[in-house]
């Protein structure tokens, strides 16, 4: 960053030692403590989980083409949506950006050789894998049918499926999140390069920091909650069982204390990616740096205060309902501030239409939709009608798939040359972005209407008047499914056959782009000294290379 021109490391990939070719063999991967290799381990594992979860989703949508159900028995359908939710939430969305891009980029962006605790980082991946094995075992051993929310007393006393292995899997994976968050917090606090003050950090780092706070403070609560659920199921001691004096609603409180902030675990890193993409492809400093940075932190904090809006119709006290409603409205404000600032960043920029930018624009549109439909659910009066219907399903998919997954794909496309040292075919990437955008909207927009019309979620069969919209949604799902397969194919192809990428193919700022692609094992030959603010495109010539 201290140098004005960025194309200083022009060395052909083949002849240079980098983190990918420094060592070979399965053992060198499974015992690695290099944050970049661990990021790739995560990338492969979560991609696998994504397609497992995605398969369940496709089966669900196919089933719902017919009102009486086209494919499976209701019991099987219940397992499909449960396993789709569990796998997508806990094994894909939560680790998605933090564990892959975060792991790869946090040390590189702050000018460090590795995370503070590299062995702990590897341990996190193993914990994730153990959790995933338990959950996949539950899938194979007959599945689980409680819904990803595990509501008591159904999950504790009534379900006859593999609740314990699933809950155990989620419990274990929680510790992977906790340790990853811990590692990031310490690294960001203690290992920034000289001159890299908090207000010179890339906004991605702020977002990851905010996410880590949620990891640290929220995840233990879901862990203890699932622990109690498991004991309750095994021993029937009555903590959540109303028949012996327990309170099933307490489970929901504890569950949502984590699971609502978890939504922000999924979206905050996406917002961080967004700030990187928008600035790079418009060659502009971010508009309102400190507003964007602090909005991440305030989202992280407020996200802990709003969980009760999942429980407006449980018979929750009306006083608590009011409190949670007003706080839920509050969390919209920092999110809105971010969207406005991204839009303003484009003003008078030099905007290019590379594939990552298309994903970024898709993100802004879908996230805005998703965020604003949150108003319907924070409003007590409309929430009563919409809670538990397809409106909810559409709303959170707009945030998590339209938002988080779009940002994840945008980020993967953006840093792919850095991660692999190869370029992918840009035309295909843009085409995929378009297919995903169209498929997504066709899948989930009809679900808003279904919800308003009153179709409850988690229905294996439904009254026939809802069929038209359901068929539309299923059609969209097949387009969306294909849209996700295209990047899988060309990105895999590019790892071997893609043209070699230079150190900085986008002409981007940021310490990670000053290293060769792929970077050497210790990232920097010499720890850089930072003298300028983030995204300072105006004061240096930028060249793609």
């Amino acid at each position: 960053m201290s140098t004005a021109t960025l194309d200083v490391h022009e060395v052909p990939t083949g002849s240079r030692v980098n983190y990918l070719n420094a060592q070979y063999g399965v053992k060198s991967w499974l015992l690695t403590t290099d944050h970049k290799r661990i990021a790739l381990l995560y990338l492969f594992s979560i991609t696998l989980m994504f397609f497992v979860g995605g398969t369940f989703a496709v089966l669900m949508r196919l089933h719902l083409i017919e009102p009486q159900g086209a494919l499976v028995q209701p019991e099987t359908y219940n397992k499909l949506f449960t396993m789709h939710g569990v796998i997508m939430v806990f094994f894909f969305l939560v680790p998605s950006i933090p564990a892959t891009l975060g792991n790869f980029l946090v040390p590189m962006m702050i000018g460090a050789r590795d995370l503070a605790f590299p062995r702990l980082n590897l341990l996190s991946w193993y914990i994730y894998i153990i959790g995933a094995i338990f959950t996949l075992y539950a899938v194979i051993s007959g599945g689980v049918d409680t819904g990803w929310t595990f509501y008591t007393p159904y999950s504790s006393s009534f379900s006859h499926t593999s609740v314990i292995p699933t809950a155990l899997g989620v419990f274990i994976t929680g510790f992977s999140s906790i340790l990853t968050g811990l590692n990031f917090v310490v690294t960001i606090h203690k290992m920034r390069a000289p001159g890299l003050t908090w207000f010179r950090l890339p906004l991605f780092i702020w977002a990851i920091y905010a996410t880590s706070i949620i990891f640290i403070l929220g995840t233990p609560v879901i862990a203890i909650t699932l622990f109690l659920l498991g004991l309750e199921r095994l021993l029937h001691i009555g903590i959540f069982d109303p028949a012996i004096g327990g309170d099933p609603i307490l489970f929901q409180h504890l569950f949502w204390f984590y699971s609502h902030p978890a939504v922000y675990i999924m979206i905050l890193p996406g917002m961080g990616v967004m700030s990187e993409l928008i600035t790079c492809f418009s060659r502009k400093r971010i508009f309102g740096y400190s507003f964007v940075a602090f909005s991440s932190l305030s989202i992280a904090v407020i996200s802990f205060l709003v969980w009760g809006h999942h429980m407006f119709v449980t018979g929750q006290s009306i006083y608590a309902g009011l409190t949670f409603s007003v706080l839920s409205f509050m969390v919209a404000i920092p999110s809105a501030v971010k969207v406005f600032n991204w839009t303003a960043t484009l003003y008078k920029g030099s905007i290019s239409y590379d594939a990552p930018m298309l994903y970024a624009l898709g993100f802004i549109g879908l996230f805005t939709m998703g965020g604003l439909t949150g108003f319907f659910l924070a409003s007590l009066a409309t929430d009563v009608h919409l809670n538990g219907t397809y409106f909810i399903v559409a709303h959170f998919h707009y945030i998590m798939v339209g938002g988080a997954v779009m940002a994840y794909l945008g980020g993967i496309h953006f840093w792919w040359p850095k991660i692999t040292g190869r370029l992918y075919p840009d035309g295909w990437a843009r085409f995929a972005a378009l297919v995903i955008f169209v498929g997504f909207n066709l899948t989930f927009f009809p679900q808003f209407m279904l919800g308003y019309l009153g179709m409850p979620r988690r229905y294996a069969v439904y009254p026939s008047e809802f069929q038209v919209l359901n068929v539309m949604s299923s059609a969209g799902a097949s387009i969306l499914g294909i849209g996700y397969l295209i990047p899988l194919i060309y990105l895999t192809w590019s790892m071997r056959y893609g043209p070699t990428a230079g150190p900085n193919p986008w002409g981007a700022k940021g310490l990670e782009w000053t290293t060769p692609s792929p970077p050497p094992t210790e990232n920097f030959e010499e720890i850089p000294v930072v003298t300028e603010d983030a995204y300072d495109y105006a004061h240096s010539t930028v060249t793609r290379g």
């Binding site: 209701p74 219940n78 049918d145 409680t146 509501y151 007393p153 159904y154 009534f158 109303p242 028949a243 004096g245 099933p248 060659r283 971010i286 508009f287 507003f291 119709v313 449980t314 018979g315 409603s325 409205f329 919209a332 809105a336 501030v337 839009t343 303003a344 960043t345 484009l346 008078k348 920029g349 030099s350 905007i351 290019s352 239409y353 802004i364 549109g365 805005t368 939709m369 439909t373 108003f375 319907f376 409003s379 007590l380 009066a381 409309t382 009563v384 009608h385 538990g388 219907t389 308003y452 009153g454 988690r458 229905y459 069969v461 009254p463 495109y537 105006a538 004061h539 010539t541 930028v542």
Partner: protein, 331 residues
């Protein structure tokens, strides 16, 4: 801005009136909820379109024209930042106040409501009218009369949802939840379970029949003649020996229940509690948690000895004792 919103919502509501897009509105609160819904829809579309078209405009106007182009540096603009922080805050505050007021209005049943009892059970709805008529997966209600439902579950959490009335409430085992509505249009409407409750969750549905009050009376009378709930309740009351302590004249070891319903009672803990359905249920199931001030904590729990339906019948009986007193005072 408000005018624009008004226009937008009127426009939208005329579009959304199309039967494919708007669910039937058949209760007194449906219109109010829908109005809020339309305004929210308008706000959503307005901001989504505004942001998207701005981005689109910038994308075209400021597209990169030369590979090594360096645009001017971003300028900070504090007033703009404050404006787009404060304006959304105000919009949110307005929406919160509106939605919450509506919610308050909708959550308070008028005092002269007809009361019907609902028990959710995997995977059916048991409904009992105070007159003794029972239904399964069907609910007959009179048009134009406020109806209050008192609901509980025998097993897991269910959720009683009538889309056409815009009402929904979880039906939780171990406690009472209540719901009220006033149907405004005769007809047949969906009744759904909206909280996942196991294998046949999607089959836990039924129909709500809204009838004119006269038809409703005929329907009630034609139902299988059976005991009223309070009558059954009285029998249980005597069978369980409740009457030995709760004597009508107050000479027993427990308080007299005559006229107790609807009163405020002082508890030993210093709290004041209104004697309503939930209180009576708690007193039967967990008597220790609601010991009255001047009485010893000697009442045993009846948890596990009677089912939810019998608890409801006991409550109906205790409530009838209250109106008896009112009647005798009147005379």
């Amino acid at each position: 801005m408000i005018g624009l919103a008004k226009f937008g919502s009127t426009f939208l509501s005329s579009v959304i009136q199309a039967p494919q897009l708007r669910p039937e509105a058949a209760s007194s609160i449906a219109e109010g909820v829908d109005h809020l819904y339309f305004v929210l829809t308008f706000i959503t579309l307005f901001f989504t379109i505004a942001i998207f078209s701005t981005i689109f405009f910038f994308m075209v106007k400021y597209r990169r024209r030369a590979e090594n182009e360096v645009p001017p540096d971003t300028e900070e603009n504090l007033p703009l930042e404050l404006a787009w922080t404060i304006i959304p805050t105000l919009i949110c505050a307005g929406l919160f106040l509106w939605a919450s007021s509506l919610y308050f209005e909708n959550s308070r049943p008028p005092s002269a409501s007809t009361e019907i009892f609902v028990i959710g059970k995997q995977w059916m709805w048991h409904i009992q009218h105070p007159e003794g008529v029972r239904e399964i997966n069907e609910l007959h209600v009179p048009e134009g009369v406020p109806v209050k439902l008192t609901m509980t579950s025998e097993d897991v959490i269910h959720d009683f949802y009538i889309p056409a009335f815009r009402v929904k409430k979880d039906v939780v085992p171990g406690r009472y939840s209540s719901l009220w509505f006033q149907a405004t249009k005769a007809g047949t409407y969906h009744l759904f379970c909206a909280q996942y409750c196991g294998a046949d969750h999607a089959e836990m549905l039924g129909w709500v029949y809204v009838m004119s009050p006269a038809d409703y009376e005929t329907w009630l009378a034609s139902g299988t003649p059976s005991e009223t709930m309070e009558k059954t309740g009285e029998k249980i009351f005597n069978k369980l020996g409740c009457s030995s302590c709760h004597q009508p004249d107050g000479t027993g070891r427990g308080p007299s229940l005559v006229g107790d319903y609807g009163k405020e009672e002082d508890l030993k803990s210093g709290e004041k509690r209104l004697v309503d359905e939930a209180f009576i249920r708690q007193a039967i199931i967990n008597p220790n948690s609601v010991v009255l001030k001047n009485y010893p904590p000697i009442m045993p729990t009846f948890r596990g000895q009677i089912n939810e339906e019998q608890v409801l019948q006991l409550i109906a009986y205790v409530k009838s004792l209250a109106s008896e007193e009112r009647n005798s005072n009147g005379k």
